[in-house]
Symmetry: C2
Subunit: 305 residues, 2 copies
């Protein structure tokens, strides 16, 4: 928005600068509504210290698992009631299930606002899932409607004061990540999740270039499903190979945050709505804790706590 | 299109019925271009006997693996040079890698047409990947541009006479699947791929409802990554649980096509551009062959041939 303060005498002269306009009270122009939405968005975002998006090139690499565990890890580390999760996957929202909030619905507040659904340790969640009658209901929407939904999840949900907002994005480099980058200009950065298969590796490079091109800082790459230890015989098996994430991080000069091994408990935990980070003694949760520390370091370095 | 044949004397009277219009030769209206594109699309589709889309609710369930193997399986069974694959995943095109065509580029033909890239057994492939300079290049596009690309992949690629066209769609129920359903009104049906985790199961239900709502026949559900046999000790491990796909198919009264076990060879094969179906003695390829037979049965039952 420019600094020009146009004082319109009639709607014909409108330049969308409602805050300095004489006739704003009586105005019913569409631009006034947009201006108000923009203001609400800014106000909401201004009360959230850190905004971190979780992206991937390919789907199914465990992005939502990483998001849920990040939220839980930060909440456990002195940020109770101060962590939020925005599930920006409109077509396949998984966050509610993973945080044990499946079946909950949004509750409306004053002025058309929505209260986020609150989970363990006061984690606040907004997700399309809280608006759908059941699991079968698909959201058959094209891009513009999705952008609008994401905007409302930021501006119309009563997030309040948060230390961290984690945004779980659907795979790819289309409407949803573009919308989030546009709506949240002060994103701290993105965490990029991949898995070890070469096919995934090829696509994760696109996610890195995407972040660079739209000018969002890259916090680092996480390799999920990295190796598997047979619970019966202890053999270490590389179902999806391993190590590719680190190589790509080096090739593209991007920080490498760490790898999370495949652990059948992780799948069970996700299905049961318990992030695996809460079980401290597993190899997955130990690996994850290191990732969390690197993210904290990044934030401290880049914008002071 | 209606049956009214308006014979326009000037562009003001245009109703977009170019085939019956008097002044079409001298016309430079945008609608003429659209009409011609529509005609080309119809012509191309008219030369393809069966069109099958592969969809999923969630990403990373192995949709592209299933698509590549279907293409190879049908090509192996008497349809050499008569199988095509349209990779409609604009952001994360994986089909070229899986069919050993990584690094190939489209070659232009007469009249702005593109020759598909041809793989083993004459499988013809169109993919965004054949237009990108390298793996790092992301396609940062919103919905309308993606629809346009998919349309061109159908109308401007010289598919020729095909027995089968398999269309690999990105996850979700947004722009790409909607576009394909709109552009190919005579789709034989969709194969829906899922994996056993409950989180995936919840999302696959949306894909089923999506297909029902837009009126596309459901050929059936495939459960991928269903159980794992430790190559060291032979223990049968359910990394991502198992059996959920069948249950959902029953719950939603949709045919169940079968399950494909996790096999580290599948991951290696995909990375090496060799569909696993070519190795007949593995448990994965045996399971897949049963799925292929059920699809053939479906097609025979629903539209002869």
């Amino acid at each position: 928005m420019t600094n020009i303060t146009k004082q319109a005498d009639s709607q014909d002269q409108c330049e969308g600068e409602c805050d300095s306009c004489k006739i704003t009270e009586d105005c019913n122009d569409q631009r006034k509504k947009q201006f108000e939405e923009q203001q609400r968005l800014k106000l909401q975002l201004g009360r959230i210290k850190h905004k971190i998006a979780i992206i991937s090139g390919k789907g199914g690499v465990g992005k939502s698992t990483v998001t849920s565990n990040l939220a839980m890890a930060f909440a456990m580390q002195g940020h109770k009631n101060k962590v939020g999760v925005l599930d920006a996957d409109i077509h396949g929202p998984c966050i509610p299930k993973m945080l044990g909030l499946k079946g909950k619905m949004f509750v409306g507040g004053p002025g058309g606002l929505l209260f986020p659904v609150t989970g363990k340790l006061g984690i606040k969640v907004a997700s399309m899932d809280f608006l759908l009658p059941n699991d079968e209901a698909p959201v058959i929407w094209r891009g513009p409607l999705k952008m609008r939904a994401i905007q409302q999840f930021i501006s119309d949900v009563t997030w309040g004061e948060l230390d961290y907002l984690f945004i779980d994005l659907p795979p790819g480099t289309g409407d949803e990540p573009l919308s989030v980058a546009q709506l949240i200009p002060d994103l701290d950065g993105v965490v990029i999740v991949t898995m070890p298969s070469e096919v995934s590796q090829a696509v994760v490079k696109k996610a890195v270039t995407f972040a660079k091109q739209i000018g969002v800082p890259i916090i680092g790459i996480v390799e999920n499903m990295s190796g598997f230890i047979c619970p019966d015989c202890g053999a270490h098996l590389n179902i999806f190979k391993t190590g590719g994430g680190k190589k790509i991080a080096e090739d593209l000069s991007v920080p490498y945050l760490g790898s999370i091994p495949i652990d059948p408990n992780v799948c069970n935990d996700s299905d049961n709505g318990v992030p695996f980070i809460t079980e401290k003694e597993t190899s997955a949760s130990k690996a994850f804790q290191e990732i969390v520390e690197k993210i904290i370091e990044f934030l401290a370095l880049h914008n002071g706590n």
